[in-house]
């Protein structure tokens, strides 16, 4: 670390502008970096000590998060608290806050979808946002041309997501690791660029406006109540997603996904059809993105290709990895943190992306497995043994 220290001080030289010399900045950053480098070195040392302990076979306490998750004493009250909070939220906080929360919940849903692809099946998908765009444009266009409502389009959006997942997944899924990443990235960009350039179809960069919010049996709602409605709709969709993903995780298919992530060759040798398993994961993830896209279009009432850049894919990927790949609760926490944090960092508006980037790095360096790393289901056999 000492080696990098001088460089980090010199770094600040770039801070001079064409004519303006800003020596003050140099000074501040110099001191800041100096202090930070000490903290950094200390933390790295601590991490290494921890690792050695683990290697020496000393008992490392399971991290607090996992102990809490396993102990019903803890999680049942916690669940109740979360439920109460979730129900009270829109009535306690402002409309603005509720709106942000809706966004965060959309991210929870699509991140759980991506979690199937990346977290469970281990397929690095950098173009996930394409399916999100597919969902959003499905709603916008079907509504524009045929006047179809939100509830009709929601399943259609999901189906379109699935369809595109299969179509795009089929040719590329035999590529390995990073090739897959770059090709999915390519597909993501292709879809965005097509939306941007094909004016007759998608109205180009100017996008589509006046997309209706979801209705409830045709009742006219004020803006406020329709946002609350949307909020509860999202809570419902989130619960549905958690329900399904949780079940999938511990099913025959879910196990196959994880096995595929762990060791592709062993997985095939155990009789699992690699292509089919990958394709189901990919398409299922896309389905959720499609649904999320429909809700997104309904929420913002306006969409254009700028909402579907590769950064969007990357942020969703960050949610999955930071939350802890393959862990539902981890991904939910990850989504809430990553989406809400920048919102509330608005106070530091210009610095927020800088901080966000730094947080990503620090997070990965000190907790590469994410907030909550993989927890697998425990099966109990004691009772059966006594009867047998």
């Amino acid at each position: 670390m000492f080696l990098t220290f001088p460089i980090m001080v010199i770094k600040v030289n770039t801070i001079e502008n064409i004519v303006v010399w800003r020596w003050k900045n140099l000074f501040i950053v110099g001191i800041g970096v100096f202090l930070l480098s000490f903290v950094w070195r200390y933390l790295i040392k601590r991490k290494e000590v921890g690792k050695k302990k683990a290697e020496a076979g000393e008992l490392v306490k399971p991290p607090i998060t996992q102990r809490v998750l396993k102990e019903p004493k803890f999680y049942i009250p916690a669940l109740i608290a979360v439920a109460v909070f979730a129900i009270a939220f829109p009535f306690v906080f402002s409309m603005y806050q509720t709106n942000i929360m809706v966004t965060a919940l959309i991210y929870v849903v699509i991140s759980l979808g991506l979690n199937i692809v990346v977290g469970l099946a281990g397929l690095l998908d950098l173009g996930y946002v394409a399916f999100y765009a597919v969902g959003a444009y499905t709603y916008a266009l079907l509504n524009y041309h045929f006047g179809l409502g939100f509830w009709t389009v929601l399943p259609i959006g999901a189906a379109m997501g699935f369809l595109f997942g299969v179509l795009l997944g089929f040719p590329v899924l035999r590529l390995r690791g990073d090739y897959l990443a770059i090709v999915t990235l390519g597909f993501g960009e292709i879809i965005r660029l097509i939306l941007e350039n094909w004016n007759e179809f998608s109205f180009g960069p100017s996008g589509i406006a006046n997309i209706p919010r979801p209705g409830l049996f045709g009742i006219q709602m004020s803006l406020h109540s329709s946002i609350i409605y949307l909020y509860f709709l999202m809570i419902g969709l989130t619960l549905f997603t958690i329900f399904v993903v949780n079940r999938l995780q511990d099913s025959r298919i879910g196990r196959a996904w994880i096995a595929l992530r762990e060791d592709e060759i062993a997985c095939q040798a155990m009789g699992i059809d690699k292509t089919k398993t990958k394709l189901t994961a990919f398409a299922l993830g896309a389905t959720w993105a499609g649904m999320g896209g429909v809700v997104f279009a309904a929420k913002t009432t306006f969409i254009n290709p700028a909402s579907f850049t590769i950064w969007e894919s990357i942020i969703i990927l960050c949610v999955v990895v930071i939350g802890g790949m393959g862990s539902i609760i981890g991904v939910i926490i990850g989504a809430l943190i990553l989406i809400l944090l920048p919102e509330y960092l608005r106070a530091f508006s210009e610095y927020r992306m800088l901080i966000f980037g730094a947080v990503l790095v620090v997070m990965m360096v000190f907790r590469p497995g994410g907030i909550i790393s993989d927890v697998r289901r425990i099966y109990r056999f004691e009772e059966r043994e006594t009867t047998a």
Binding site: T14, D178, I182, G186, F187, E189, N197, M364, P368, G370
Partner: protein, 300 residues
């Protein structure tokens, strides 16, 4: 025919610049199997450093040749230092961690550097002086290829030759190849792997910085965001050629440069990037390990 030649040359130049960036991707990938997302940012920082040095020196009234040389040298040194630091901070602590974690760390680094430059400088495009002088002897060919373009081609070629030499014949190059093939084995026979990795980042950053200086003075403006798109394109080029393979990066970059140039020239400029990506997808479907990549069967 004239038109064809023009497109051919513009593709060649594009390709050479992609190649300068793609080399860094491919070398880093070859050694630690990481898509170094921050690589495009290094290139951008190179361009910015050169811009700053050049402006200051212009104010001081230096002559043009001295400015361009000094600006390039400082940019290269600077970017190398950044590349080195980025690796130490964001990647080295993650050796042995899941690969996705390192990738996210790289993405974080990229975001950080982008915004760091955004805050420290400006979000607007900044005009970049055309540092490269017009040569007298070039005047009669000016309608086909300009002096800056010649300089770009020459620099790229020189860098390639230098790199090829470095990797084939020097001790460092041999150690690099050994590490790329089998890191553990290299470690066992006494290669200081950490040093090799740092070295790789430094070389990669240096070439990227050169690319940054060249393209910025060719195009004439830069902003904090140029690294991202160039980075992605260069990465596509590296994958196209077969990631991990150095000649592959060059071939992939040229192929991508030409593809884009001809497509824009003959078909449509709206769908240029669409076509570039489609092309990549097609190549990978029929040659899953890229144009020059070896098709490896994993040992079981």
């Amino acid at each position: 025919m004239e038109y064809f030649l023009e497109l051919f040359l513009s593709g060649l130049i594009r390709g050479s610049i992609y190649a300068l960036i793609a080399l860094g991707y491919t070398m880093v990938y070859g050694i630690i199997e990481l898509i170094n997302f921050a690589h495009g940012e290094i290139y951008m920082i190179g361009a910015f450093t050169a811009l700053i040095v050049a402006s200051v020196l212009t104010m001081l009234g230096w002559n043009q040749i001295a400015i361009i040389l000094l600006a390039s040298v400082v940019a290269v040194i600077y970017s190398s230092a950044y590349g080195y630091t980025v690796e130490k901070i964001a990647y080295q602590p993650l050796r042995g961690a899941p690969r996705l974690s390192a990738l996210i760390s790289a993405i974080g680094m990229s975001l950080f550097l982008q915004n760091y430059v955004l805050l420290a400088q400006t979000s607007d495009f900044m005009p970049f002086p055309s540092l490269i002088p017009e040569f007298k002897f070039m005047e009669s060919y000016e309608h086909i290829i300009s002096s800056p373009e010649i300089v770009i081609l020459a620099t790229t070629t020189l860098v390639m030759i230098f790199l090829a030499f470095l990797i084939k014949f020097t001790r460092m190059g041999k150690a690099m190849r050994a590490t790329a093939q089998d890191r553990e084995m290299a470690m066992l026979v006494g290669v200081d792997v950490d040093r090799i990795i740092s070295f790789t980042f430094i070389i990669g950053s240096a070439t990227a910085a050169l690319g940054g200086v060249l393209i910025a003075s060719h195009i004439g403006q830069i902003n904090f965001y140029i690294g991202f798109l160039a980075g992605i394109k260069a990465f596509v080029a590296a994958v196209l050629g077969g990631i991990g393979s150095i000649p592959g990066a060059v071939v992939g970059s040229l192929v991508l440069g030409w593809t884009e140039s001809f497509f824009t020239g003959y078909v449509s400029s709206d769908y240029e990037d669409v076509f570039a990506f489609l092309f990549l997808v097609f190549i990978l479907i029929f040659r899953p390990s890229g144009i020059m990549g070896r098709a490896e069967t994993e040992k079981v």
